[in-house]
């Protein structure tokens, strides 16, 4: 279906269909997500982007009426296999949400939280180093280095979102899923997060849902276009921008660019 740059597949979905109760939300979605790339997912709202993203770390398991068919593999291992450790999957595939959601704890504790949970032995200088490095990686260190004991909720929206990214980086996931991470942020904060994602793709595989087509084309290596639960088109961002294969994709993109 698609030629990847270095050939290594990180995530793969095959014939994925999903329902909330009886309402279908995804229809036979198949896609290959290459390692160390940024995949942007676009499409009108309600078309299943979030549903698809939340399948990738089994976040939809929390919704009782949710049903899934098909297969998703992470490094060739089926993440919906019966013997799967869900907690371990979520450790490898982390997620950042639309609304920044720091815990009601200090900036330091927010970043340290996951580390302490996964590795009870880490503390003191070692923990401090992890926290500082994660904040630096998330381009937040300079802004919060004097505010570590303050509540994470006292930061600005853009800072909170980067705090959420730092908190995730601290537990060293392999894949980072972001669901419209900038939709609640101003353009300046949005720019900072875009820069950050471009740096992070060196070490992580990133899947980002975005409403902002400009953003999708600025940062993505690959773009997937969802419509009514189907993945209508998926390909390298450069190709989709110039000559999409499907007419609906072209209409959607041109409609948005006027």
């Amino acid at each position: 279906m698609l030629n990847t740059v270095n050939g290594k597949t990180k995530l793969h979905a095959r014939e994925l269909s999903a329902w909330y109760g009886r309402t279908p939300a995804l229809k036979k979605v198949s896609v290959t997500i290459p390692a160390n790339s940024i995949v942007g997912l676009i499409g009108p709202s309600g078309c299943g982007k979030s549903t698809f993203l939340r399948c990738l770390n089994r976040m939809n398991d929390l919704i009782r009426s949710f049903k899934l068919e098909g297969k998703i593999t992470l490094d060739e291992k089926d993440i919906y296999a019966p013997d799967t450790d869900i907690v371990l999957i979520r450790r490898k595939v982390g997620m950042v949400f639309q609304q920044p959601n720091p815990f009601p704890m200090s900036v330091f504790d927010n970043v340290a939280f996951g580390v302490r949970e996964h590795n009870r032995g880490v503390n003191g200088k070692k923990l401090e180093n992890i926290v500082v490095n994660s904040l630096k990686q998330a381009n937040l260190w300079d802004e919060v280095k004097d505010k570590l004991p303050q509540s994470g909720l006292s930061l600005s929206g853009g800072q909170q979102q980067r705090l959420c990214i730092a908190r995730l980086l601290a537990v060293k996931p392999e894949v980072i899923l972001l669901d419209e991470p900038c939709s609640a942020l101003d353009p300046l904060s949005t720019g900072k997060i875009e820069e950050l994602l471009l740096e992070l793709k060196k070490s992580y595989t990133i899947v980002v849902v975005t409403h902002n087509l400009g953003q999708a084309f600025r940062i993505s290596d690959y773009i997937g276009f969802f419509l009514l639960g189907q993945l209508v088109e998926f390909g390298p961002a450069a190709e989709l921008a110039v000559k999409p294969k499907e007419k609906v994709t072209a209409d959607y993109i041109s409609g948005h660019f006027g």
């Binding site: 929390l62 982390g94 959601n101 815990f103 009601p104 939280f113 996951g114």
Partner: protein
């Protein structure tokens, strides 16, 4: 308005009775008011009973509330359980008292009180701080469960998702994120439970025995006597009011008003504590 008038009236009638001796002397069995002593033992009784009650009720209620809020499914069984809790909240406390007395009079449960001597087939006394404390705990359980459950459910779903997305297990998410975030609400519920225990009469009357003073080995404040004190009887401010008021069995109306005022003050302090803790929680969220 009426409540306010009652408090004012009680204040005027009660303030005259309160002095150092009143607060530091034990009650004496006398029909002459000037010889009837103070309220030390009932005050200690109220505090002891409330402590036993809430220490038993709190972990039980918190565990139940956590289970109901985070694990229970929407099915018939839990629907019935919830209905049961609602119904229990409306049962008069005298009913709990009768059950408490009946159950703890079983000789097998004499550990909680003491054996009645001279009865051939064996019968426990069934009245003590432990017995009434446990009965109180069961009585306040529905209220404390309800408010803890509300508090836990009010924690935003986004906190749960955030922790799960970091690969933290459900139990650790609950114990490290959800319960701390729900803390102000949990504390409020607990203090409301404390107020209910401190203000109850029926359970004290039946399950704590009819003595004004602590019947355990004296002096009760020696650590080696604490355990025995809990296995023995006593009184609280509420029963003190009954025993000393002419409307009840006594002849010391001023002391009854004084004790009433002290009880109201204790409950007011608890309410202020609720507001204070609630406001800390709000400040943090902003």
């Amino acid at each position: 308005m009426v409540c306010f008038a009652i408090v004012i009236y009680l204040f005027i009638k009660g303030i005259g009775a309160i002095d150092w001796a009143f607060l530091t002397q034990d009650p004496q069995p006398s029909l002459r008011e000037e010889l009837s002593g103070g309220i030390l033992a009932p005050m200690v009784g109220t505090i002891l009973l409330t402590a036993v009650g809430i220490i038993v009720a709190f972990p039980w209620a918190l565990a139940t509330a956590t289970y109901l809020a985070e694990y229970a499914e929407d099915n018939f069984f839990f629907g019935a359980l919830r209905l049961g809790i609602d119904v229990l909240a409306g049962v008069p406390t005298i009913v709990y008292a009768i059950f408490g007395l009946a159950i703890f009079s079983l000789p097998e449960l004499a550990f909680f009180s003491s054996m009645v001597e001279g009865v051939a087939e064996g019968k426990a006394f069934g009245r003590s701080f432990l017995v009434s404390g446990i009965t109180m705990a069961v009585m306040v359980l529905p209220f404390v469960i309800k408010s803890c459950e509300e508090a836990i459910k009010a924690v935003p779903q986004t906190f749960r998702e955030a922790a799960f997305a970091l690969g933290v297990s459900k139990w650790r998410t609950i114990s490290r994120v959800i319960l701390p975030a729900a803390r102000p609400g949990i504390i409020t519920g607990t203090i409301l439970g404390i107020g209910r225990i401190a203000g109850d009469t029926a359970i004290v009357w039946l399950c704590l025995g009819g003595s004004m003073n602590l019947t355990g080995p004296q002096p009760w404040w020696y650590p080696q006597n604490w355990g025995a004190t809990l296995q023995n009887a006593g009184s609280t401010l509420t029963t003190f009011i009954y025993y000393s008021s002419p409307a009840g069995e006594g002849n010391s109306p001023n002391k009854a008003f004084g004790a009433g005022l002290v009880l109201i003050i204790i409950i007011l302090i608890l309410n202020t504590l609720v507001d204070y803790i609630g406001s800390i929680g709000k400040l943090k969220e902003e």
